[in-house]
């Protein structure tokens, strides 16, 4: 090997190391201390959620026989809490906090002919796993907007098939996911930049890992639209942002 090749090799190694360090450092700084918490509520008369007739798929119908599943377009708790609202920082993130990609690999499960969870928030390029816990085939058919950064795909997952490991390259709030074999199955994947959260059945959420600063928080609900609020996160002190969506 000539000396020239050795220099090239050494230089390449150095560049690789530097790149690796850069990638690692973003991950480290993304795990900041700040938090944004709050609850999302619904006022007015919640829309009627129709029970779903799953007679087409006898297994799923039997599974839910005692407690029929209803549509999940607006899921309101007894105290007016609103479930399945996506919260993310739409303005104010900069640098490493904005480009950070969570290393968590959330699961998008098909169980009892429903998506578990109904709504999922992800970073762009964050990997997630699609699994099928039913003894029947489902087809996963996400429908991102045409012309955006994401491409539509449509794949079946027979029972017992290995999980599908994939990600979305572009931000999009939100990509509808359908199963054509069971047309009532639908859910959303919100692909955003930086830290995010989805409200639980009490309407509560926590966006963690937010570095101190001023931000705009956006709340998105699949049929009620979006709302925004400005918050300031100080070191060691969580900011609060509560939202209220009004019905008709």
């Amino acid at each position: 090997m000539t000396i020239r090749y050795k220099i090239t090799a050494a230089f390449s190694a150095l560049v690789l190391f530097a790149l690796g360090a850069l990638v690692l450092s973003t991950n480290v700084s993304a795990a900041g201390e700040g938090k944004i918490t709050g609850t999302v509520k619904f006022t007015g008369t919640p829309p009627h959620e129709r029970p779903i007739d799953m007679s087409k798929e006898p297994y799923c119908q039997k599974l839910h026989a005692s407690n029929p599943v209803k549509t999940e377009n607006v899921v309101v708790g007894p105290d007016g809490s609103l479930e399945w609202v996506v919260l993310y920082i739409s303005e104010g993130l900069s640098g490493s906090a904005a480009s950070a990609v969570s290393s968590e690999k959330p699961k998008w499960d098909q169980k009892g002919c429903q998506y578990i969870p109904h709504v999922m928030a992800l970073d762009a390029n964050q990997h997630f796993l699609v699994t099928n816990s039913d003894p029947t085939s489902h087809n996963i058919h996400p429908l991102p907007k045409a012309g955006g950064g994401n491409n539509q795909w449509n794949k079946s997952q027979p029972p017992g098939a290995p999980p599908i490991d994939t990600s979305w390259p572009g931000e999009e709030v939100a990509i509808q996911v359908k199963c054509n074999i069971h047309p009532w199955m639908h859910g959303y994947m919100a692909v955003v930049k930086g830290p995010n959260a989805v409200t639980d059945e009490k309407g509560a959420y926590t966006i963690s890992g937010v570095p101190p600063g001023s931000y705009t928080v956006t709340a998105w609900q699949e049929t009620l639209g979006t709302q925004t609020q400005k918050v300031t996160v100080a070191a060691g002190k969580p900011a609060t942002a509560d939202f209220t969506f009004k019905g008709k």
């Binding site: 058919h141 539509q152 794949k155 079946s156 027979p158 029972p159 017992g160 290995p162 509808q176 054509n180």
Partner: protein, 594 residues
């Protein structure tokens, strides 16, 4: 008819160099071999696809070893997904119908033997002939390419019903680029067939040697001639249909897509097209196509049988007229594919009568075959066994036509395995038997070597019993209401029938594996088989008057003169019980019986 114009003999030298001799050859014989080779490749692929489908139907949870390597998306963990099953099914049908059943018996044997049997040294348009093969090859590559695009081949079946086939990727995996490639492949294929048909027709009409009147043409030539006439009109309809389908994909037209369709909750940007238009165009091609697949087989089987029965058919003319009647009627019956399609129910009745009427020429053909066996001196060999098997299978497929010709019974049987059994018997397995009969019969002429008869007979028994074991139970399943094109039988109704599916799968695997015997025989005999005499079957037609393999210009620069009808057997001549077509010997010849 005897004083016809005889084309002058051109003495051209055989081509030099590998490319001109074996790749871009103008020689009809090489082109015939190329078509046969293409069919062999396509049938192997098609058979493997059917094995995967059968395995999955019999054992739905079975992980098929190695399948995930073939398609990671299509078979995660080796279990085919619903869409992958349909994609395999679509490509199985496409490869088999177009690249096997149309190419081998028609373009393969026809190219090789039609010019020799009419006494010509080549076709009138050798460049068109070369083009027809290479265009067909391009069509094959384009169809194959559909496997390698991201979403894979289309899943809409070999019939490609619109609007599923016209809406694009939104309608399902493979319905985007895969479907466009499929339509492009068929459109290109049509070009090849049109060029080929043109050559066949002009060879038959213009290139016959001195003394070869139309009625002195062997039944094979008649079959290819009739098939060409069908091909010319049928493929001329499929090609524009495929082009319109491609336009619906790429140019935003709506030939086959109606207004206000909603797929995945998205209103489709199409309006004013017609769903049934595609079906009319496709089946106007599709039904004659069935006869394009089977009529050459009838010609080959007649030719092989006559030679081995040592007697001509009871009536040469009646057979020819019946084949022509089949071809003619085939255009008037296509609507029987559409009885429950939503077309005017009155049309169903109108289409049902010509469909029933087509039984008459088919029956005449079968009766002439069987009637001619009476008093014959049948020689049993691989070729004649396959020819006899063809008759048996064609009868079995024909009688199920009684049911499907009736709209009222189509209500019960349409889109069930009964239909699958019906068309596999007639156009698929019977036509394949025709190919086998022709191969065992003509192999020595093409290669100059004999095939192994023992292996040939073993191959026959496996294939004959196997074909019945596979396709007869399909009819039972259909009668019981087993719907076709299902990748799994998820409902309680079909569960009890799973045992029958398992049986069919085992039969299909065994029968398929037995084809390796044929493949071995074909390849081994090609290189190691015993040297063949010029006329091993003591046959009369012109191909047996020349050396094996035939020289470049077939007749060594001197065109033959024909003195007799093609099948002068069962007589007393100097050579034995037959007299060659080109023999000037004056003997008491046989004529059609009344």
């Amino acid at each position: 008819m005897h004083d016809m114009h005889v084309p002058a003999v051109h003495h051209h030298a055989p081509p030099q160099g590998f490319i001109r001799k074996h790749v871009f050859s103008l020689d009809h014989k090489v082109i015939g071999e190329q078509y046969y080779g293409l069919a062999l490749l396509a049938v192997l692929i098609g058979m493997v696809l059917s094995w995967i489908m059968r395995l999955h139907l019999g054992w739905p949870t079975l992980s098929i070893p190695g399948l995930q390597l073939l398609s990671k998306n299509g078979a995660p963990g080796g279990i085919p997904t619903p869409e992958y099953y349909l994609q395999l099914m679509t490509m199985h049908g496409t490869f088999m119908v177009f690249f096997v059943l149309t190419t081998a018996p028609f373009a393969g044997f026809g190219n090789y033997f039609l010019p020799i049997q009419v006494g010509a040294e080549d076709m009138p348009f050798p460049h068109f002939n070369m083009m027809s093969f290479w265009v067909t090859f391009v069509a094959f590559v384009v169809a194959l390419a559909a496997f390698f695009v991201p979403d894979g081949p289309p899943l809409s079946g070999w019939t490609g019903y619109a609007p599923l086939s016209a809406l694009g990727a939104v309608a399902g995996p493979g319905q985007g680029l895969g479907q466009v490639l499929w339509a492009a492949s068929l459109a290109i294929f049509c070009v090849g067939q049109l060029l080929g048909s043109l050559n066949f027709i002009s060879t038959t009409l213009d290139m016959r040697c001195k003394g070869m009147s139309m009625m002195r043409l062997p039944l094979t030539v008649w079959a290819w001639f009739i098939t060409s006439a069908m091909g010319l009109t049928a493929f001329a309809v499929l090609m524009p249909a495929c082009i319109l389908l491609i336009l619906d994909h790429v140019a935003g037209t709506s030939f086959f897509v109606a207004s206000n369709l909603v797929v995945n909750d998205q209103l489709q940007p199409h309006s004013g097209g017609s769903t049934l238009l595609w079906q009319h165009l496709f089946w106007f091609f599709g039904h004659p196509e069935v006869y394009v697949a089977i009529v050459p087989g009838m010609g080959v089987v007649s030719h092989v049988l006559i030679t081995n029965m040592r007697r001509p058919m009871l009536s040469h003319r009646v057979l020819i007229y019946s084949m022509a009647a089949l071809a003619f009627l085939s255009y008037m019956v296509y609507g029987h594919h559409m009885f429950v399609s939503g077309m005017n129910p009155f049309s169903s009745i109108v289409f049902s009568f010509p469909t029933l009427a087509i039984t008459i020429p088919s029956t005449i053909i079968v009766l002439i075959w069987i009637g001619s066996l009476y008093g014959a001196k049948l020689r049993i060999n691989s070729a004649s066994l396959f020819a006899l098997g063809f008759i048996s299978l064609f009868v079995s497929g024909g009688v199920s036509g009684f049911f499907l010709a009736q709209p009222s019974l189509d209500i019960l049987l349409h889109a069930t395995y009964f239909v699958v059994g019906h068309f596999h018997f007639t156009m698929a397995i019977a036509a394949i038997f025709g190919i086998f009969a022709g191969t065992y019969f003509w192999f020595s002429k093409v290669t100059g070597r004999m095939m192994n008869e023992t292996l040939g007979k073993i191959h026959f028994w496996f294939t004959f019993v196997g074909a019945y074991s596979i396709f007869m139970p399909f009819h039972y399943l259909g009668i019981a209401g087993n719907v076709r094109r299902y990748q799994a039988f998820v409902d309680d109704y079909l569960q009890p029938l799973l045992g029958v599916h398992k049986f069919i799968t085992v039969a299909a695997l065994v029968t398929g594996a037995a084809q390796l015997i044929f493949l071995y025989n074909l390849i081994y005999s090609r290189f190691r088989g015993p040297k063949a005499p010029q006329n091993p079957w003591e046959a009369t037609s012109l191909e047996w008057t020349i050396p094996s393999p035939p020289p470049f210009d077939n007749f060594g620069g001197k065109l033959p003169v024909v003195y007799h009808d093609p099948y002068q057997y069962g007589i007393e001549a100097s050579s034995g019980d037959y007299v060659m077509q080109d023999s000037p010997e004056q003997v008491q010849t046989v004529h059609d019986e009344k």
